[in-house]
C-alpha cells in the first residue's frame, strides 16, 4: 500500500493535480475505479503499471530513466556509479528535509 500511495502522489504532482475524469482519460481506467484507487482500494498490478509508465514517460519522454540507469550500471565504472548514487542520495535527503512533515491524508483532495 505504501508503494501505491507513493506512486499516486507522484502522479498527482507530475500531472498537476488532474481531476478524476482527466485521470480516467489518461489511464483508460473507469472513473469509478479511479475514485476507489484514489481512496486507497488496492490497485491491480496492471493498474500500477499504467500509472508507472505514465510517470516514466513524463519524466523521460522517449526513454525511461530506468533504462538509462540499467545501461549506466552495466557500462560505467564503480567509482562513477558511486558518485551518481551519492548525488541522488543527497538530493533525496534534501527532499526528505523539505517534506518530512507532509500530509498523511488521501492522495486525491
Amino acid at each position: 500500500m505504501k508503494e501505491q500511495k507513493e506512486i499516486l502522489q507522484r502522479f498527482m504532482r507530475l500531472f498537476n493535480q488532474p481531476t478524476l475524469q482527466e485521470i480516467s482519460n489518461q489511464t483508460g481506467i473507469q472513473i469509478t475505479r479511479v475514485f476507489r484507487i484514489m481512496n486507497f482500494a488496492p490497485m491491480k498490478f496492471s493498474e500500477y503499471l499504467i500509472f508507472k509508465n505514465l510517470i516514466d514517460s513524463k519524466i523521460c519522454p522517449g526513454d525511461s530513466f530506468e533504462a538509462t540507469l540499467d545501461k549506466s550500471l552495466n557500462e560505467l565504472s564503480l567509482d562513477t556509479i558511486g558518485d551518481i548514487k551519492q548525488q541522488i542520495e543527497r538530493k533525496l535527503l534534501l527532499k526528505k528535509l523539505l517534506t518530512k512533515n507532509d500530509s498523511k491524508g488521501a492522495v486525491y483532495a
Binding site: 562513477t80 551519492q86 548525488q87 543527497r90 526528505k96 528535509l97 523539505l98 518530512k100
Partner: protein, 171 residues
C-alpha cells in the same frame, strides 16, 4: 549518524556555532524556512549534536568535536563543495535567463607564460590575504552580520589537460 552533511545542514551548524539561538533568530540568520529548520534541528537533536533548552538551540560541543572528523571527511567535503558549486551554477544560468546578476561565475582558458603565471599567482595570494584579513577583522570587530548574507567565493586554476584527464576518468 550518517556520513557527511548537506549544505543547508552545515548552515544550521555554522549559525549555532556563532551563538545559540531560538527558531526565529535562526530563521533570520540563515534565511531558511522554519519548517525546514525544524526538520534539520530535530535530526541533529536525534544525533545528539544539538541541545534544546527553554526554546533555545545550542551546539552540543563535546559531541560535535567527536563527530567533526566524520562530517569533514575528504569524500564528504567533496560532495558538499560539489553541491555548493552545482547550486551556484544552476542559479547563475537561471539568473542569466532572467537577466539578473547576483551570481557571478567566470571561466577563462588562457595560455600563460611562466612570468605571467607568477603575476597571476601574486594576484591570487593578494586575494587570499585580503580574505584572511577581512575574516580576522570580523572576529575583532563583529558587525552583527547574518549568515545568509555571507558571500561565497569559489576559485582555482588547473591545466586544461588535467581537466580533460579528470573527465576521462569519470566514466
Amino acid at each position: 549518524m550518517r556520513d557527511g552533511i548537506l549544505v543547508i545542514e552545515r548552515m544550521v551548524l555554522e549559525s549555532l556555532f556563532k551563538k545559540e539561538k531560538n527558531l526565529m533568530e535562526m530563521e533570520r540568520d540563515t534565511g531558511l524556512d522554519s519548517g525546514i529548520l525544524k526538520n534539520i534541528l530535530s535530526n541533529f537533536m536525534m544525533d545528539n549534536l544539538i541541545k534544546y533548552q527553554k526554546g533555545v538551540y545550542s551546539l552540543n560541543k563535546n559531541e560535535i568535536m567527536g563527530k567533526l572528523k566524520k562530517i569533514n571527511d575528504k569524500k564528504q567535503i567533496k560532495e558538499e563543495v560539489g553541491e555548493l558549486f552545482t547550486s551556484m551554477l544552476n542559479e547563475y544560468f537561471k539568473k542569466i535567463e532572467q537577466d539578473q546578476k547576483n551570481v557571478d561565475i567566470k571561466v577563462r582558458k588562457i595560455w600563460l607564460t611562466p612570468s605571467e603565471e607568477k603575476i597571476f599567482n601574486t594576484y591570487l595570494i593578494n586575494l587570499e590575504t585580503f580574505m584572511k584579513n577581512v575574516e580576522q577583522d570580523r572576529k575583532i570587530h563583529p558587525k552583527n552580520e547574518k549568515l545568509k548574507e555571507k558571500k561565497v567565493f569559489i576559485w582555482g586554476a588547473t591545466d586544461y589537460s588535467t581537466i580533460a584527464n579528470g573527465c576521462l576518468q569519470a566514466i
